[in-house]
Symmetry: D2
Subunit: 155 residues, 4 copies
């Protein structure tokens, strides 16, 4: 595969809103994930293999891949929500396709269906060597994300 | 709910094998997860709410809950595998039932079906206050785990 | 396992509402599924192995098991909804634990979490011989179900 | 969307093997599903909206969509398996994206990852009017499928 498609027509207000929210996700800093690209209905998050993130065989833990991919999916849906909405993950499912060796990992969340209340987002985790953009699949996710307006976060 | 059931009849060899593997999962140390109990077909992992693990609303990130719960499910299956096997997560699905406020979180993985190659494990994330064992549901997981014998980890 | 628990304290109005809706699900008649029991937060549907429902090895097709189990889960959530609500399946996940030989199959849906908009329901498919209630697991499902009030069904 | 891509380079032996297996799936005849196209790693199954397949609002029941889509996914994996293998669905997850009005429905299964034992298949359910190929998404599935060689089907 080649590198994921790039989008240019991003609303600066939406991008700023997602950057602010991402910066408040302390878990992203803890695993070293970085917001790489925000486009309408699509968000990319970069993650690097680090010893602190591994499971017993030295690969990035499936849950850590899921953590970054869940954020990519949630923010992809968030790009299409009203400015005063909060985003809530209802559920996600992840299939692991290959060991997450890295060293570079890219999480791509892309909205499949946008609903007033419920959106469905597809996530793809990819990995590539340091020196070339040969992106190979690591995991696939389907996430159900809820738009929460004017009330609590209890579903 | 009351605290999860306790098992006593644990094979020390199995417990030691899982403790060694868990200690090699650097991701567990990074999120502060601790192996709490190992029994045949069942593993419990404790996690505490910490600012470093949060999402934008201050709850533990769904992916971090999934990370600890995935390990609980994988090791629950591992307790029933041959000593020379490796354990591999094929996929998991998680539904978030309540915000993960903690402060105490407990991940319980319990084998629903043990197969020669494929096992199915149910995971429950629970939370309780510091001062009493009033465990309430946070998330439910179903995980498919593979027994890998005498070859690589590529499925 | 013994037979699933029985509930007696059923609201006749809720039971009648679900019986009417079930009778309109032509797919249930097509596969021969019967509404067996309705209780608050829990619904049971019976299904019998028939040649018309099989896959290539003579077992009931996983999708047919999923069809009856999805209805059990949806109606379990519906028992807890306002009288004027409609119920919509957002997603479900099923793990097959054993071939569905029957001859008797029982689908049990039980609400794990009831929300204003989103409910999470756990489904279990069981099977038993004709002559005794030795119920063994066939499949496990987790379903996300939506309460739809006063508008269309487009999510 | 336009109609799904067509493949021409099909191995007649593989096609014949899948046609034979499909013909033994009585559940496919019961719901009126037809094998439409078999290509390496990809299978398409056609289904038409019929009153016998509906849920309470007159749409095709989510479980019936899942039944045809599960077969499309299983057979997509089967195209890449050895001739003496059996195919077994381990689990699948489906998100419903729009009510299944039909009248024409198309289920497309496509292998995401082929493994010696475990394959991961993505399924898409689409619908179109009778008179033009304007295919719109109805559902998305991720299925885990097992290759079974020289032994039973108990996982």
């Amino acid at each position: 595969m080649t590198a994921p498609a790039r989008h240019d027509a991003d609303d600066p207000e939406v991008v700023a809103r997602i950057e602010r929210s991402f910066a408040r996700q302390a878990a992203m800093a803890t695993i070293g994930a970085a917001l790489q690209r925000v486009a309408p209905g699509r968000v990319e998050i970069a993650l690097a293999h680090r010893p602190a993130l591994t499971q017993q065989h030295g690969f990035v833990h499936a849950g850590v891949v899921a953590t970054a991919l869940d954020s990519a999916c949630g923010y992809a849906a968030y790009t299409l929500m009203p400015a005063d909405a909060a985003v809530l993950t209802v559920e996600f499912k992840i299939n692991l396709l290959a060991p997450a060796r890295g060293p570079r990992l890219l999480m791509v969340g892309e909205v499949l269906k946008r609903g007033r209340t419920i959106s469905v987002v597809e996530g793809r985790a990819l990995q590539a060597p340091e020196d070339r953009d040969d992106w190979q699949p690591v995991a696939t996710m389907t996430a159900t994300v809820m738009t929460v307006l004017g009330r609590g976060l209890d579903g």
